[in-house]
Amino acid sequence: MAAPASTQTVDLVARFPDSVSADARPGYTGFIVKKENLLEVATAIRDEFGYDLLTAVTGVDYIAENKMEVVYHAYKTTGGAGLTFKVQVDRVDPVEVPSVVGIWAGADFQEREAWDLLGIKFTGHPDLRRILMWEGYEGHPLRKDWKEPFFEEEAKPFKSRWPDGQHTFAENKNPFRDNLKFPEGFDPEAYQPENEDDLYASLERFRSKGENDRLKTDHIVVNMGPHHPSTHGVLRVAVTLDGETITGLKPVMGYLHRNHDKIGERNTYLQIIPYTDRLDYFNSMSNNFGYVTTIEKLMKIPVAERAEYIRVIMAELSRIQNHLIFIGMLMNDLGTMYTPSLYAFEERELVLDIFEAVSGARMMCNYFRFGGVVRDIPDFAMQKIKDLVFDRLPAKTDEMERFLNENEVLVARLKGIHVLNAEDAIKYSVTGPVLRAAGVPYDLRRAEPYSVYDRFDFDVAVRHNADMMDNYLIRFDEIRQSLRILEQAIKQIPEGPINSQKPAYQVRVPAGEAYGRIESPKGELGFYVVSNGKPNPYRYHVRPASFVNLQAVESMCIGAKIADFVALLAMFDIVMGELDR
């Protein structure tokens, strides 16, 4: 699959001859915008050219050229190729770039992440705090001159492990005998930890100033999490409450920040695949899909025909079990403890059986390879897939709907509780089922088809009320559409090789950049990879759906009741492994 050359269809240089130039580096696409004109150009990109959805914002540290680069990927919700534009600044502290939050509110978290991990200061950002690490942490880890405490070498495979293993424990090399790194002469007894005043101050923005003449009450701050049964992992939310009404809300994350990007930049291209499994751990197949699609774009290699179908089958099975779990867990959050989720998990186990049969692992499949997949589907597994797709899953989906959809309590809790309207969803870069439930038929399988999705006949599930009920029902719609795709894929799947390449431990990836994205069950899952021709990626960045979608949670919940918060949060179907990476 070739990289879309159509990113150049918009002639930004002709519109801004003085401030924009085409990115002429080999393997790169897009435009380089002068820092001073960024806001002007960005406004034109949104308003004149119609790129209303800013999906990814990230930074790259080009230390050899003494430059920092911020990369923006903007798309149209009507579909089609995207527009990549970049800002380059000198790598002299403070590295400052104007914030585009005023133009696309969806840049909020991603700019905070770039500040946290790369130390790029976005001037004009309303709330520029660290997001994944804590305030007071030393250094910006993704800078190329920053070394983690267990640093061994710049790139894997480490010389101590290969070709002959002479490995010593990482602890023995660190002066603190642990995964620790302190500045010189650090005195822990004299240290005053940072408090969280900044966090609580940021809540003030939405506090009502007692304009009405109701009973005067105090606002209280409640911290939910990071240990809370219904935040779907280790998410923490600081909420201010006026009685039961939420008046301010800030998600606090990073409790599962496992340094995916940094470890990825040390790994070889192939070594990253098992790490992508652990992003959204419900859908390791989808994560694999997104990553290999991106690298294949860079490598410009074809994918074996049979493997394309296997990929689609696996990704759609994954979507079905994800949505079933979503429904089960939503019921948990609403108080129907366990019973519906037991029904969901029963079906999930059957899907996992198939994953185990093809890949050897239930959850962490590590199944995709560049150019194909690692193993063919055995006959008995194919039979199981057919049984599930043609027989069991349609019946079970009907059954779930029959049991749940008209339940009085469920309808009372879900119907009419507003989630997000289309305008806000686009503004906050929300993708996936939440966007589609707001009436925007934006599904990457249609908007910019990847793999062989253009060969299947299916509808983009869309609903228009944007309330919780629609967000819930759209999951069933998507299961049905996935089943439709699966039926066609099973019928059409050709015989043949499962990989267009020879199996290799090391792949050659030509220098350049690529942004690959797929429609994961949670929304748009993107990977931004910069290669410099070496065996390891120079920059490896994940644009997770959960993380970006969560930006809307603040404006969505202000004014709602605290009791609805848990259900509103559930709508985004967040997974912490993907959110914090």
């Binding site: 994944l132 690490m133 007071g136 942490y137 030393e138 880890p141 983690e148 405490p149 267990f150 061994e152 990482a170 602890e171 002066p175 603190f176 005998r177 642990d178 995964n179 620790l180 790194k181 302190f182 500045p183 010189e184 002469g185 650090f186 005195d187 822990p188 007894e189 240290y191 930890p193 990071p226 240990h227 809370h228 049964p229 992992g233 280790v234 990073g254 409790y255 599962l256 920040h257 496992r258 340094n259 940094k262 470890i263 040390r266 098992p274 790490y275 652990r278 751990y281 419900f282 989720s341 037991l342 998990f345 029963e346 999930r348 186990e349 239930r362 959850m363 962490m364 912490m576 492994g577």
Partner: protein, 213 residues
């Protein structure tokens, strides 16, 4: 009761009374009660938590071993299942939860990450194993461990409980209230384990002298 192996082997109980009467020791009775009603803390960290949920569901059904009552509050829990990667940012919360659990309490490290840092060990925000802070009773290997492996680990924990004696357990020892209290780590320029303050101070100053020399 015979299925529970509660009775001591040397006593002949008439057949019709076998399920009614048991002759046993206090330790055995006490441990039988505890091992069969371990209440885990409902506490998921990462990927392993999903397999923990899967182990609760119909196909694996951990309830068969008396461990299904997940409690979201640490005050009611007996066992902390550290199910996933322990990050530095999360660690203070984990320690606080552990300190809030009443004795007797057990810690099970589920998966490679909780046992040693696992695939993420090299990460700057990852604690290389929860055993650097909490006393771990059972380690379960795997990434993530299958539900079967988790159940096997739970059975190991039951075996451990079986071997304990009221006379020796730490929570009945005189003058040893809160014997397992773990001081809260501090989030500074990096994670500060306050028990190691002197060591950290020394190592940090040594580095200065080495580099200046």
């Amino acid at each position: 009761m015979e299925n529970e192996k509660l009775s001591l082997p040397n006593y002949n109980i008439p057949e019709d009374l076998e399920n009614v009467v048991a002759i046993t020791t206090l330790d055995r009775l006490y441990n039988w009660g505890r091992r069969s009603s371990v209440w885990p803390l409902m506490f998921g960290l990462a990927c392993c938590a999903i397999e923990m949920i899967a182990a609760q569901t119909a196909r694996y059904d951990m309830a068969r071993f008396g461990m299904e009552v997940m409690r979201p509050t640490p005050r009611q829990a007996d066992m902390m299942l550290v199910s996933g990667t322990v990050t530095k940012k999360m660690l203070p919360a984990i320690i606080r939860l552990y300190n809030q659990m009443p004795e007797p309490k057990y810690v099970v490290a589920m998966g490679a990450c909780a046992s040693s840092g696992g695939p993420f060990k090299e990460g700057y925000n990852v604690v290389a194993g929860i055993d650097k802070f909490l006393p771990v009773d059972v380690y379960i290997p795997g990434c993530p461990p299958t539900p079967q492996a988790l159940i096997a680990g739970m059975i190991k924990l039951q075996e451990k409980i079986d071997k304990q004696s009221i006379k020796k357990v730490r929570w009945y020892e005189k003058g040893k209230v809160d014997s397992n209290y773990v001081p809260m780590p501090v989030l500074g320029p990096d994670l500060i384990d306050v028990r190691r303050n002197a060591e950290i101070k020394q190592a940090a100053s040594q580095k200065t002298t080495q580099e200046s020399a």
